[in-house]
């Protein structure tokens, strides 16, 4: 009987019922309302001069032209690139290192992993405040340096223009490394041990195993990690805002903090939007490559 009725019914199932359309449309509209429509406005506002009160005045590319002469913008751009390279690079290298170190299932390894992973659940604001206490002149870092006889290294880490940015990167790294480690641990678990066995029979040493098996086998995870880290870098805001607000003298200013303070403190909403467009342009390549991979996956 099932055989007789199935074809007709199944055709009924592939014709999409209206409820199912609503299932897609409601969430899509929510996202369109809060994301797509504002995004379009954001791009438009970047072409305007607007203080939030008077009507926005269309000025074309004037905001972008202004950036060339804006020394704070140049600092923020440079710091953002530095942040990408240092924060991004180190969290990938150290996250992979931690994953390789803790990949074997043995006694106690769960605890070690959890210890490295715990900071991931802290907000960046709480993380920042913890580290701010460590960076104080009478805090743990300077105290330890003094105790080790390295008193000359003691430093107002966050107040010095030459160290502020690096001092802000450390807490961000402390939190990100655990996250990257989890992604790599999953990737390492997926590698067929037979590959290592075969290579060892052929006399490969440890470095060769890493270069010719581990790295290529991790290529898809690598792609994900790189995208995640770049997107995270460009979004980074909380930790800088809580620690230095971009100071002293903009020395730890990122594009994201500069954008926020320009738009919401100086109330230059048009120029702020233009800075946001710059962040978007920097992220664009990653977004597209992520989507292309997702597109292939989705089928």
């Amino acid at each position: 009987m099932a055989l007789l009725t199935a074809p007709g019914r199944r055709r009924g199932a592939t014709r999409v019922p209206p409820v199912v359309l609503a299932f897609v449309l409601v969430p899509l509209l929510a996202e369109a309302f809060w994301v797509f429509w504002p995004a379009i406005q954001g791009f438009y506002l970047s072409l305007t001069d607007w203080n939030g009160v008077a009507p926005a005045k269309f000025v074309g590319l004037a905001n972008f032209r202004e950036m060339f002469g804006d020394s704070v913008f140049r600092t923020a751009l440079l710091d953002t690139v530095l942040w990408l390279v240092l924060f991004g690079g180190l969290s990938i290298v150290l996250g992979l290192g931690a994953a390789m170190f803790l990949q074997q299932e043995r006694r106690g390894v769960g605890f070690y992993r959890a210890a490295l992973f715990l900071p991931v659940v802290f907000s960046l604001v709480a993380t920042a405040l913890v580290w701010q206490a460590m960076y104080q002149p009478d805090g743990l870092i300077d105290k330890t340096l003094g105790g080790l006889g390295l008193g000359s290294w003691e430093h107002p880490w966050l107040a010095d223009q030459s160290t502020a940015l690096y001092a802000v990167i450390v807490p961000a790294l402390w939190r990100e490394i655990g996250y990257v480690m989890v992604l790599y641990l999953a990737g390492l678990k997926g590698i067929d041990p037979a590959l290592y066995e075969a290579a060892k029979v052929d006399g490969a040493n440890r470095r060769q195993l890493f270069r010719h098996i581990t790295l290529p086998q991790l290529s898809s995870v690598n792609a994900v990690v790189v995208s995640v880290v770049i997107i995270d870098s460009l979004r980074s805001f909380d930790v800088v805002w809580a620690l230095t607000r971009g100071g002293p003298y903009h020395s730890s200013e990122l594009l994201s903090t500069y954008m926020y303070s320009t738009a919401f403190q100086s109330l230059r909403l048009g120029y702020g939007s233009a800075l946001a467009v710059v962040i978007f342009i920097l992220a664009f390549g990653v977004i597209v490559s992520y989507l292309v991979r997702a597109f292939r996956e989705a089928d």
Binding site: T14, V19, L118, V130, W174, A242, E297
Partner: protein, 302 residues
Amino acid sequence: MTVTHPTAPAVEKAAPPGARPPHRDPVARRRRAGTAGFHAGAVLLSALWLLPVALVLVTATRSFDDIAGNGLGALPHSFTLDGFGQAWTDGGQARALLNSILITVPSVLISLLLASMAAFALSRYNLPLRRTLLLVMLAGNLLPPQILLVPVSRLTEMLGLYDSLYAVIGVQVGFGVGFYVFVLHGFMRSIPPEIQQAAVIDGAGPWTIYSRIVMPLAKPALAALCALSFTWIFNDLLWSITVLRTDSKMPITASLIGLQGQYVSDWNVIAAGSVIAAAPTVIVFLRFQRHFVAGLNLGAVK
């Protein structure tokens, strides 16, 4: 640097299965040495990672006089919970924690409900343009939020929602839903179609299939996303300070920054505030650790 260094002894033990059968003793000894080296390195690494956490717990339980007199980096000479009391009542952390929960719980529930509906429709039915729709939704989540800040704050003003918790919930749902749809879609696609066909033959409509069949089967993914989105939304700062203005409406992350300004050198209060702000997500993490880690991996496109 400290992370990669101790690797050497741990992996070393993989060397022996070579050509000649080596003496039993040295191998066993080397293996034992390798294990000891691993644990020494791992303990050191964990200690380094947990040190800031321990430090903030210790600082939160010291008295102000102790910190002022002996210095922030000194060993504690006092134990008191006054810092927590001050942060909780005078610092407004109690109100802020409540705000955070009032924002986070509805945001998580609404976004996962909406996302699961869309993921169900896109993964179980031959909708036209389904792949495009899915990627458009994901793309919305990948946008840098900075491009949305100014328009979203203006949008909430126009709706009369500016400076209300509804505004934060709205934008959290709108911004997050794309990612959750993408993850849930991947999960639901792997449910065999036969289960659904059987239900259709039995006369089940889409709503029944969704609520009685697909949702229960998607529980692991939902649990993972729940744990993950809870921490994300709870820890968020940017959206809140963009659409909220009144101090008493701020969630705990923003309130913590206020606390830092209010109690500049009362490190015991600031540390206590950080502990209060971190406690809910740490509890969620410890309770749902497995789901949490699974969630992070779900998020990665394999």
